[in-house]
Each structure stands twice: as structure tokens, then as C-alpha cells.
């Protein structure tokens, strides 16, 4: 882990009308670090990653990327900085094959504006091999024929292929079986080992404790705790999720 975090958030707030979704959240993730983002439903995990991915503009606070203050105004800005998000529904086209999906929207073309299938296929294979994804027999099979774990691998490979520095994974193991979960978690670990910063959103603390280096807990839109995995226990994290100390209790100031 190096000293400068890839991404730092300082006092980031976001509200939708009267609903305060995020309140002065501090958050950071460093190269080679797998940072888990945990919290109960409605804690603001999704809002936070959408702010990072440029889908929601932030109302207050500061975002620094690689030490420089940045403002992210859309998914394209995020992609340009090297931030890739793998959403829960993966956003793969079933009728296209693995290579076609990995290059969707960013297809390579040759001098005559034709699709450069050869280069795309070779690079896609290289990326999958680099991530030690061994379960996909052919990169020319359609995604429809892949298992949930294989699809997740394709979606992750798609995200890391673009010199990305930060990969955000939204519930990557939510719908997977035991063996496939193991494969995807191994993949997440390898992303960290390759020097990428990874934000892992999960409900499953068992998964989190298997791969995360650090854990940030959100509760009611505020970050209530940050742990090093090696220095904490599931018990402590659960307590933070359900009863972490809030700096501002929602509704209280209105009553007062």
C-alpha cells in the first residue's frame, strides 16, 4: 500500500429533496487495497458509489483523485479518470460473446473502420489470463451460456481492461453459489494484488472478511467506523452497522 490514496472523499454530502442520503462522509482507498463498504439497507452505499461514478453530483465536500481535487460530472468523467463500476446487474448483452461484451461501446477498429476482431480477441484473452480466469472455455461463446460466476468474471475483466485505477464492485457475490463465490472472491483478491484500488460493496460479512484489507461502515448516510480487517472481528463490524455512533441523528434537529 502506498501513501497517497487513489480516491479520497472529505465531508461529502448528498441529499435528495428533504432526504439526507449522505452526511459528511469521509472515505479513502489506496492502490492495492481492497476496501469493503458495508452497511444496512438504506445506509447510503449505493448513493456513495453513484457519487463516485458521476451518476449523482455531490452537494458538498471534496473529492480527490490521485491527490488532486476533481469534480466528476458524469460516467464519462469517471471512466476518464480510471474509475470503473461493475453494477449488480452486470450490464452484459446475452446475445453477444465474451469479447464483444468486453469491448462494448469501445470497439477497436482498423484503418478501414472495420472491427479489429483479431486484436480484440487476443487482448480479451490476455486480460482474462492476467486475472487467472480459467473457467471460460472460449471467449467466442455467447454470454448467455455462462454461469453467474463466469459472467461476473467477464464483467470484472471488462472493467479492468481500460487502465483503470479504481474498480467498484457492487454486490459481486449476491446471486452466486458457494464455488462461484469462491472464484469471484479470488478474482477480487487478485485485483488488489495487481495494484488496483478496489471498493467492494457487500452484505456478506463472511465474504468481506475473506478479501478486504479495510472496512468502512456506513449507517444512515454517515460513516460510523473504519476498521483494518486484521484488527477487528465480525462482531465489532455488526455492532457498527446496527448501532454505530452517529454525529448527527436524522430528524433530531428538526424536532429540537
Amino acid at each position: 500500500m502506498t501513501d497517497t490514496p487513489v480516491l479520497e472523499l472529505h465531508g461529502v454530502s448528498k441529499h435528495f429533496g428533504a432526504v439526507q442520503a449522505l452526511y459528511e462522509v469521509d472515505f479513502h482507498v489506496s492502490p492495492g487495497e481492497v476496501m469493503a463498504l458495508v452497511g444496512d439497507n438504506g445506509a447510503g452505499k449505493s448513493t456513495l458509489i453513484k457519487c463516485i461514478a458521476g451518476i449523482h453530483p455531490i452537494d458538498g465536500g471534496e473529492v480527490r483523485f490521485g491527490g488532486q481535487p476533481v469534480s466528476i460530472h458524469g460516467p464519462k468523467d469517471a471512466a476518464r479518470l480510471g474509475i470503473e463500476v461493475v453494477y449488480q446487474d452486470l450490464a452484459l448483452a446475452d446475445n453477444l460473446d465474451v469479447v464483444e461484451n468486453m469491448y462494448l461501446g469501445r470497439e477497436l477498429i482498423d484503418g478501414a473502420r472495420r472491427l479489429d476482431e483479431t486484436t480484440m480477441e487476443a487482448k480479451a484473452r490476455e486480460t482474462l489470463r492476467g486475472l487467472s480466469v480459467t473457467t471460460i472455455a472460449s471467449v467466442r461463446q455467447t454470454v448467455a451460456g455462462l454461469s453467474g460466476g463466469q459472467r461476473q468474471s467477464v464483467a470484472v475483466a471488462k472493467a479492468v481492461m481500460w487502465n483503470s485505477k479504481l474498480v467498484i464492485l457492487d454486490e459481486p457475490t449476491a446471486a452466486l453459489g458457494v464455488e462461484q463465490t469462491r472464484q469471484v472472491l479470488a478474482l477480487v483478491k487478485r485485483l488488489g494484488e495487481q495494484g488496483l484500488a478496489v471498493i467492494l460493496i457487500s452484505h456478506n460479512l463472511h465474504d468481506v472478511f475473506e478479501v478486504a484489507d479495510s472496512i468502512t461502515v456506513l449507517r444512515l448516510g454517515q460513516n460510523v467506523a473504519e476498521f483494518k480487517r486484521t484488527e477487528t472481528s465480525q462482531q465489532q463490524v455488526v455492532e457498527a452497522i446496527t448501532a454505530g455512533k452517529l454525529s448527527k441523528v436524522p430528524g433530531q434537529e428538526a424536532v429540537a
Binding site: A91, A93, N95, T118, E121, L128, S138, A144
Partner: protein, 410 residues
Amino acid sequence: MTVMEPPLASEGPARDTVRAYARRWWVDVKSGELGSLPIIVGLVIIAIVFQTQNDRFLTAGNFVNLIVQTAPYAVIAMGVTFALLLGEIDLSIGFVSGVGGVMVALLLAPDGSNELSTVPAMIVALLAGLGIGVLHGLIITKVGVPSFVVTLAGLLAWNGVVLLLIGSRGTVILQNDFVIGLANDFMEPGVAWIFMVGCVALYAAVQLVRLRSRQRAGLANDPLVIVGLRVAGLAVVLAVVVAVANDDRGIPYAGILVGGLFIFWTYVLNRTRFGRHIYAVGGNQEAARRAGINVDRVKIICFAIVSVMAVLGGILLASRLRSVDTNTGGGQALLYPIAAAVIGGTSLFGGRGTMKAALLGALVMISIDNGLGLMGLSSGTKFVVTGGVLLLAVTVDSISRRGRAQSGRA
């Protein structure tokens, strides 16, 4: 991770054997990836049945007739495939083709005050098609009205435009030699042979370049024998077509036009970013949008292609009949093209379909129409039989889809 085989090694540069290729093909067929197999079987059955009923079906003369009759519907079917690939539909193609045919006939009518020369008249008609398609596309994407409704309204409105354009004339006779020649003139036998050799050489060259570049990148290749067989197969099919056609009047120019459009659009679908984006939008619109594809733009262009191809088909239809009347664009032009695309294996749910499907499907539809005509059966019988064939084709597709679902490929 522990020590593992080099990933994807099974797919390495080592060239596939023919046996492995054949086995893979059989596994595909068993799991429901039927490709063009059912339709080719269907065409063989059609040929056998009609030949036993009437020995004029498989003659050179009727073969040339089949090409001329199929051409307009094949063109419109190739066009409407672009809407089907998106998971949308265009019901207006029949009367849009009617508008095209009528416009060309009127613009070239020697008595009219608005007479144009041949090429400008065709361009004006095609631009009208472009405008119609863009209009459909804009309403569908920007306003958000379902394509079924927009093009259903189009079906009525463009039918009205056909009637308004024809006015009190009833029937307009085409008198332009070039337009009539599209469906009624034939290629010199020698030129047809040169053309055919050129096509095969082009195909072989494309295959070899692909083989070489994949080899250089160390990717898996089809066995050389299979590539050779493919080229030889195309050569044989085209040679038979040219030989048989030359035995009668020759290859009609309409057939050449269909071939050219087929190659062009297949190239667009398979080898350009735009083509890839069409499949992506049809397969998963949300994924396409998130990948940065301008979904609305893709849709508008596709609907424009549908209408322009419909106009082109309408001109061919007018050329074959040498006239247009108030019924132009109705009847068969209305639903035959969609039925043809579906019979060929194009999915109505989007994301799956090819130009080959449209072409072969149109050939099936018109073969049945033609064969039943030779047997002297009425239009009523024709429609009932064609309906049955359409249902059968979709049933085969549904069953094979079940096969795909069971083997996890749905």
C-alpha cells in the same frame, strides 16, 4: 492460486481438427443452435413436393421467375430485419414500399408536369423513404411511442398517401426503360460468369486474410479444410445458380441488386461498430446505454434503413409489374417480409437475426407462393399454406430455443 494449466490453453494456436469441428457443430445443433439448417431442409422439401406435383417447378425458366419474384420481398425483408434486431417492429413497410413505387412511377410518367430523369427520380423516392424512416424513428425514440403503434399508424397513413398520389388515375403504367429493366432485363451469360468468379474470389480472399491475421495473433482457427469447403460450397451454389439461369434468360439485374445489398448489409452488421451496436441494443438496451452507445441514434438509423429498403423493394415490385395502382403496397408486401425474416430465424425479441435469414426466408415464402400458383390453387389456399409454414417455422425456433435454454444458451 495454485499451479494451473495455462489458462485457455485448449483454445491455443493449435489448429482444430476437422473431427473436432464436426463434433462441435453437432453439439451446437443438438443444443438448439440450428443456424440455417431447418430452412435449407425446408427448401429441399418444398422443391421435392412441388416438383412431384408439377414438373415445371424445377425448370430454368421458373428458377429465373423465382429470383425475380423473390427480389422485392428479399429487399424489404432485409430492411425490416434492422427493426427486428432491435426488438422493435415496423408494420408500415408494405405501404412505404408502395409510396416508393408510386413516387417513381409518377415522377417518371411522361405525361406528368413533374417529370424527372431516371436517377433523380429514384433519389427523390429513396430520400422520401429516408424521411419517413427518420420520422418513425424520432417518434419512437424521442416521444417514446411504441414502434408497433407508430408503424401501425404509418401503415394507415402511408396507405392513404398511396391513394392520394394515385388520385383518380387508377393505374399508372411505368414507361422508364431503366426502372422496368431492373426486374425484366438479364445479365449477359459471360458477364454473369465473370461476376460469379469475382464473388467467390472475394469470399476466398476475405477468409484467407482472416485466417492469416488470426494465425499471426496466435488465435484458434477453423481447420483449413473447412474453410476450403466453405469457399467450394459457395462456388458450387453460385455456379449452379448462374448455369441454370443462363440456360433460360440469365441472371436478372434485380438478383444482382439483392446480392449486392446482402453483401453490403452483412458487412455493416458484422464488421462495423454500428452493426455491433445494433445487436447490443437488441440484446440488452440498458447495457448498451451504459457502455456509452447512443441508443436513440442507433434506433433512428435502423428505422431509416427499414424505410429506405422498403422504398427500394417497392421500386423493384413496380418494375416487375410494370405499373402501380391503388393496391400497391398492400397484400403480400405488407406482411410477407416480416414473415420471411422470422421464417429465416430472426427473433422478434431482438438481438438475433441475419441478412441470410431474410434472404432464405423470402425464398421460402415465394417458392411456396410460386409452387401453389403452378398447381393452379387459389390465393385463399396460398395464404392458408403460407400461414401454416410461418407457424411451423416459429415452432421449430421455439423448440430449438428450449434446447438452448436446457443447455444454458438461451
